[in-house]
Symmetry: T
Subunit: 138 residues, 12 copies
């Protein structure tokens, strides 16, 4: 995701990942929560990060990118740590190639938000926090 | 949807549709937008309402319920009026029966939000308004 | 269903819907139960009727006709009111076109009876009453 | 269909439904037949109309729109009244999304005409009349 | 089927096969028909029994159990003797694993009844007798 | 197609191909257009003819017969010459074997007409001419 | 297969299994080979017979009936004894229900003959003998 | 088929097409029937030959080769002339690639024989003649 | 399975079933458990044996052979007696034909072991005993 | 392929088939090999040419066009002559309609090259020659 | 896999990966073999380890976790080093989601063991050693 | 890929990856272009490398190995940097297991070359350079 802003703005919007992270940090401050950002092209590094979150984080906000549709290992990691997770996508995955309609992550997540560009992250953060505040089990 | 709050709270959460509407109206006021609520069990009535929105509304926030997965007619109506539409679901449709994973509406919507109970509507309203403010074409 | 008796007697038998209703009313009287009949070509009207039955009826006897195979909304309505439901069909749906072999209603019903013409209704009424009398949860 | 002419002219052509109806009425007069027009977004209302046509009409000219691909109930209604039916589509359904390639109506219709815009209706009327004149059973 | 009553009462109900047979015999007496019961775990023995019924029995009431979904040979036997057959199931097969939704027997049977526990047999007997009395060909 | 009239009149109607051609020539004269007829059992000959039409013909009226469902080469030829094409069928292909429901030609044609016997050709000619007169791009 | 001649002569022809066996015995004598006939409705008995043929028979002529389409065990038995096998069918299985188009036996047989009624057996015997005479490995 | 004998003898056997034809002619003489042989790599030429056989031949013996699995046009030609047809294959098509398991021809043929090398033709000729002699309609 | 050792040693290994049974009996003695061996080509006999094991055996070690992939009845029998079951295969079923990749038994078994020849049985016995000793519910 | 250069240059590039052939002849001369060009819209003519190449050519360079996806007969011809074959495509078939992703030819070819316009032919010629020079069996 | 023991003990059992490794080391000592343990969430690291094993290890015991169902690269690595491999799973993959029923590894492994919790590893080690001792090629 | 030359020479040819790289460097020098080689078993490292190429390289020559068939993330990376990419394979993927027939990369690449062993790389380099020289957009 580290080319965001440069690549295919028609599909992914024009904000860079850094701008999204900065906006999310601001939102997090306003909402009184601590936010840690992590990005990697390595599925294994994402799994490591998910596992490292156990006991450290109350919730996960994840844009699994291409791994959404292919990674059973990432699904098992999230399912294994049992931390409430919200899945977000910049683009509307349901309006793209059919192989993007299926998510291995969504069935074990609290919910999924897709299609609102950088706003997907902000909505996802809001959704995650409200979910945790309501102590509403999935 | 008019039995919300009574039926299957494990799946759909415990808020009634009226409570959701009231909360949405409050949100709308705070966000400075006008909101009209419509509910029907009749696919045809929903289509009529969508068509009546043409020239009247800037955006559509829709929970198509069971019609999500079966109604080409509703899709064609939304596609026909060309009003930016956000699809929301109370439950996480991707974690339920496989026939709920496919949406006829999502491919022609701005985006889809599912799984956050009554919050799905609030997030959807927020998403729709921000989408319209940014004049960001889908 | 309001053309019953006139149309395709080879498939649906020669009794009219009125005759079936009359026979069912007689059966109901003999069995000491109250029976209300409702017929509509409108999926939405059927959903309204199902929801109106909540708190009013102990059981539902339904021939969903063509909606059997296409209506998730009707399924959700029946599932939502949580009233024991018996699904009946005049013709043997399993012996007809393959798209008639799948029912959205059957998986959430007590059971399914198909193929006995007007008798399907009478058997269904009997099945429903016995199910309710035995307080046997599905 | 009541937004025809306003919506998506690229797909559906630029004539309004009223213009199409007027043209069809003219054609009907020239061909010496009586034509009744009916339009609804309600599947149930279409089914009611089909059933009401029994004993009243010699043929049916129908553009089932989105119901083409989803309505077993409409199919059963047409099959039930056993009136020769011609299915027409403004757009070329075979050149659009794959879910539009299948029709529940076509297998029980005399024939199908698609892709000629408003002309599809006129060709369909002509086809229906000639079919009836030749007393050619399907 | 000879473990009925002991095994998985949640799925199959708590009546033993003997109790069901006794109840059916009583029903048969009341209805003035003769009933012969046969049970086997052997597909071939069931086929032998079906063939032996030719010229001996007016109707067949069968719960094909697991063979419902796998036995073309049983289907061919029933189809070969051309005796009107009613298929019954204790559990609601349409609410269980997807491989139980398809029946090789149902398409050549008069009809199918499933989901009413031991009552499925009684309803099936009633259905069969009424079918035979009406001389109603399938 | 050169056995038309002799073979399977139940499916294809009783007119011979020559009679259809004659009628079409008459129609063409009345409509003020020139019509050339070509028939072959050879897919390659049909492709040759399509390519030879480039620069010679304003439109193509084609009944691809069995090649409808199997010939990518014919599709590519029509697509290559970019001449507006109308696909017609004597029988209602949508009411026959499922392998006849898919057409390789229709997605690149202006439209498809099927089910009206010899009239399919006449309607197709009319459709093609009106399409060309309106200069309406597909 | 022991009802042959009585059941469904339209599909299976009118010769009884005994007549077929007699004819085959005559053919075998004329061809100078010894023939043993075995029939059972029990898949297990057929498997036993196949295994008993090892070291006893040079070839197998089998009409697996309904087991053709469902029995991996029979396939494994034939494959296990490694005796050249010819599969025959009275009816043309490729012209019947689609589940009859697939054979578990054919891929491990020398060849398959279907559709010629009682002649299928005679042709199969001839084919088997010629195959064995030519010592032609499959 | 004109390379038979040279190519892939492991699959197709070592007899040339000419040898097969000669053997068939001998068989035909012995059986008192007249046989005409035709071979072409051109699907259209095969279709022409089938159509030319109408009124000339009492039966067709055909090895459709690769066209077996792809040619709807050839199927329609055979179906159109309504001459009893026997389909033969040198190799056991059911033991080869899965795309060879389906035949467009078999469902409209009297029967199919595959897997016996050159003998398939001889068996097919025998099968065809016996079929014609018995005047047994398929 | 009673041809083991003779047939297809490349696939199934060279030990006879008797040798496997003897080895298993030795293993059982060493492990201090009683072992009963049963073999049949009859699905019904296997089902009878499974049902007879209820109340007699603490665990089942089964190589369902070809029935693995086809027998719902065997699955229902094992599921009905609710005895912990271990499924073993001599060959690696996942490396053979695709129809061998699916097992009706595995989803209701404790586990599955395949591919180790005669050792599969020994490993299965060990696995079953350890499972029972740990009182580990599946 | 004889309209190349005129049709759809966006997909197929702007060189004519003649220009491609000329370039290929030049390449062949430079590489010291003899090249014969053949083009036909007739599948049968292509098969004839393939068979005629046996004993005449050391390798085949083929662009099967639409036949790539539909012709088992062409595959069998190439497989029959056993001449090393390279399959080329002007356009990137994997980026076009899904029915173009499958090739009947590729599995029996040395390799496949697609997407480089006229260069695909040149690369294919180079690939073929190097393959032949290395005597590298596929 | 490094969260084993903490996560989802219902599915994966309660032993930690370290305990499993310790037990395996003990088993290895008792069996007189050397064992090296490696764990990573990184598919690439697993592939590196597999390749590093070439010339170093006589066998591989692998629990590919989520990569079982998605990694062609891991399969190719194992296939490339050609070291006998045994695939093990803690849980019974055949009793879980359908996407876990398929393994890319099993078809190229000696065998597969699943469902016995930590014992799966011990059984797998035993199976691997016996396989290597018998020098039994897969 | 770093075991090339040692593993499975029958499938992948006998050249080592280093030899291929050396040959490619020579080709690159002769063609006047600069070439950088990168190899990794880590999908993430490949993605990093693709992204690092943005602004640095004019084209990408990639053999995605097993990731070809499974990596949406790699596809998205290549699509994101929008650098013309040529996909090459040592073996003919279309002649191997069916899961190798689909490529996630090919639809967004310029073209694909497979089956020519080490020559695939050289042809791919040539194809890429010519593509870049012609400034021909895909």
């Amino acid at each position: 995701m580290n080319l965001l802003g440069k690549r295919e703005p028609g599909i992914y919007g024009s904000k860079t990942l850094q701008e999204i992270n900065d906006t999310l940090q601001l939102d997090a401050e306003n909402l009184g929560v601590e936010l840690r950002c992590f990005q990697s092209n390595h599925e294994g590094a994402l799994i490591d990060a998910v596992q490292a979150a156990m006991g450290e984080c109350d919730g996960l906000l994840i844009n699994p990118g291409g791994f959404t549709h292919t990674s059973v290992a990432l699904r098992d990691a999230i399912s294994g740590v049992a931390i409430p997770t919200v899945e977000v996508h910049l683009s509307n995955v349901h309006a793209r190639e059919s192989f993007r309609h299926h998510s291995y992550i969504a069935p074990i997540a609290v919910g999924q938000i897709s299609g609102f560009g950088a706003e997907s992250y902000r909505l996802g953060l809001l959704a995650l926090i409200r979910h945790l505040q309501q102590g509403k089990s999935e």
